[in-house]
Symmetry: C2
Subunit: 407 residues, 2 copies
């Protein structure tokens, strides 16, 4: 079979592809089977297994349109971006991304480690599992991939070459629309608001002029601030976990943007898990999420500062007071994005299971807690200095919607 | 003669080049002469004249190293950037840049209108000439080239493609070093401080920690804020003037950076002209410069707001209050850059004739006025809202160094 012209493969074609192109990844006497296991929006994920050795790999192929809606037409070149980013992330944060073996610019696919011995973090958290290494691992991942690709560390010309290489107009447009625009502008074609919260969202979100103004500022910050090579979609569905391991996947939204975009996504998605555990009255898990969230933020800050002290040689960045200024901007951006992600997953087109799996007044309350906290994160984003600051905002929102009033 | 391999031409070779490659720009019976007239740092400027018709054109060729110092090795690809920018600027600000006829990617040269009927603005101002159209023209140029290339106006994907196309690592590095770093870090190899001001500069500039911190913040803003396609070197040596015409040249430093970088360069270089006229007690010219500076800033603000109202359709940018926020950030950046340019031309490697043509205590005083104003522009950059705010800062500095104490 020839793979010299791009087409989207089915399972049997992906198995043929693996046996013809990737034989070197298997033992000599391999016998391959293949299953498409993708549940994301943009790509096809083929798990190819050698039935004899049980060894498996993943072939990730980019389709020409998003699976969620063919309204999003996307260049399959994002697969190149993903491959190159995974190589870079492996270099900056060894062991925290899947190993990649090959990239095929014709078929627009990347071949990487199968992570079937890990779970998708969102699902695992919804089963009230806990992951003791998570705060350590994700803070390592963020500090190393973000600080080390900024121009406080990289030679400036080299950094600009990377900026050019990772300009990502189509994927950024999705974020600009879905995260920064539609949730605050009553987009009737694409927003998807839970029925019991429609009038509340109108009054507290759509009609809030201060909120619209601050989100507009954050949008132009996202579009124009080429700070670091960010992952760009760092929610708990992009993280694979095991008790002893954390792997970040799916960096196809990556580009040079504000560091706080990644940090805020992690925080917001932990808050969704917290709201889910709260709804299910899983107080132990809820407490674990709270502790993990606080630890993630605090470890991020501590490690950021310590890696800065070790790695930064840029003469202006060494000016006394500059590190503290830089980090305070990162924390402000992180808080703003926490609020944006909380809003867009409840109001916008793309939801999260943590919330949509809830029903009736329990979902109503979970959403209102998240949205109330979100407004504070966005409007008062300059005040966040540590993990506890983040915790206090959603604990305060929780107190405002006492459980007994909704059950 | 063959021009199929790059070499830096001499006058006679440039004349041959014109007769072989550019015959279509001259009358049939042309007879060409050529003179190299460059006085910039980076390029060779050949004026090629048809002796019969007296019609002339300019061939601008990029050299492989800067003329000021072969320490700066530069890719001649900057010539492509300059050609493409001139085409874009012609589209956005018709009549305010020289017309370009051809670009040769092998010889790294661009062919354009000869502006010999114009004068270089810096020299003309040093002769106390005035240019009644300047404030109108330069504010038109800045508003149209800057606002219309930002993503409040351009479609976002198109803007990102332009950002990629105009990433300019080498020329940006020159600015980062010469403007943002060395003047504030006592760079003994490259700074060039007037002897009578050495200890004053040490005390008031090098030893000012707040100044170093604020300039570090501005440096990362310059490097990371891909706001608009800026000219990048908009001083009065890059502007050709006639009583009825203004032409901006030399955009080879262009890239997507903060709007305020261009605005601040214009303001600072008007202040140098003001200091020069002050030193020569040319009070009429001094007053004209003051009026022109105030008018330039105020026309920029008025036109920026009016072009915004006509052209902006971006939904988030239309949020009430966002235009005012955006413009206030631009003014703050402009004030900061005004201060940086004032400092770097007095302390750093590359000076301006307005100041270096002065001597003794007169130069001492001119420099102290500029540097004192510069500190206020940088440290209090958030307070500048109109032309008068800028004027007051250097009038206040002037008052602090009363003429009679120095003559």
């Amino acid at each position: 079979m020839k793979f010299d012209t791009y087409f989207t493969m089915n399972e049997s074609e992906a198995a043929t592809y693996a046996s013809e192109k990737l034989a070197y990844l298997f033992a000599d006497d391999f016998s391959l089977s293949c299953k498409e296991i993708g549940d994301g929006n943009l790509n096809y994920i083929f798990k190819v297994t050698d039935k004899r050795s049980n060894h498996s790999i993943i072939i990730k192929q980019s389709g020409p349109v998003a699976r969620i809606s063919d309204e999003f037409k996307l260049s399959p070149d994002r697969n190149r971006i993903e491959y190159e980013i995974l190589k870079l992330q492996q270099q900056f944060a060894p062991g925290l991304v899947p190993k990649v073996y090959a990239y095929d610019p014709i078929m627009h696919c990347t071949v990487m480690d199968d992570l079937s011995d890990h779970q998708i973090m969102r699902r695992a958290l919804m089963e009230f599992q806990t992951f003791p290494k998570f705060a350590q691992d994700i803070s390592d991942f963020m500090v190393n991939t973000l600080l080390l690709t900024s121009d406080v560390v990289l030679e400036h010309k080299q950094k600009k070459d990377l900026v050019r290489n990772f300009i990502n107009p189509q994927l950024c447009e999705i974020t600009e629309d879905l995260v920064y625009t539609e949730p605050f502008n009553d987009n009737k074609n694409r927003n998807d608001v839970f029925e019991l919260n429609r009038s509340w969202v109108s009054e507290h979100i759509y009609d809030s002029l201060p909120l619209r103004l601050e989100t507009a500022k954050l949008k132009f910050e996202f579009m124009n601030h080429a700070q670091s090579l960010i992952h760009g979609d760092l929610h708990t569905g992009s993280i694979f976990v095991r008790q002893d391991s954390t792997k970040v996947i799916d960096p196809e939204f990556a580009f040079f943007g504000p560091i706080g975009y990644d940090v805020g996504n992690v925080i917001a998605n932990l808050i969704f898990s917290w709201a889910h555990s709260d709804a299910h009255q899983q107080s132990d898990h809820k407490r674990w999420v709270e502790e993990t969230l606080v630890a993630t933020v605090d470890l991020f800050i501590t490690k950021f500062s310590s890696v800065w002290d070790q790695k930064v040689t840029e003469v202006s960045a060494l000016t006394p007071g500059f590190k503290e200024y830089y980090l305070s901007q990162v924390m402000s951006d992180s808080a703003g994005v926490t609020g944006l992600e909380l809003c867009r997953r409840i109001i916008g087109l793309a939801h999260v299971k943590d919330i949509t799996s809830l029903t009736g007044n329990i979902r109503l309350r979970a959403e209102r807690i998240c949205l109330t906290a979100a407004k504070e994160f966005i409007l008062e984003r300059g005040k966040y200095c540590c993990g506890l600051d983040f915790l206090q905002t959603f604990k305060k929102a929780e107190a405002a919607f006492a459980r007994e009033d909704y059950v």
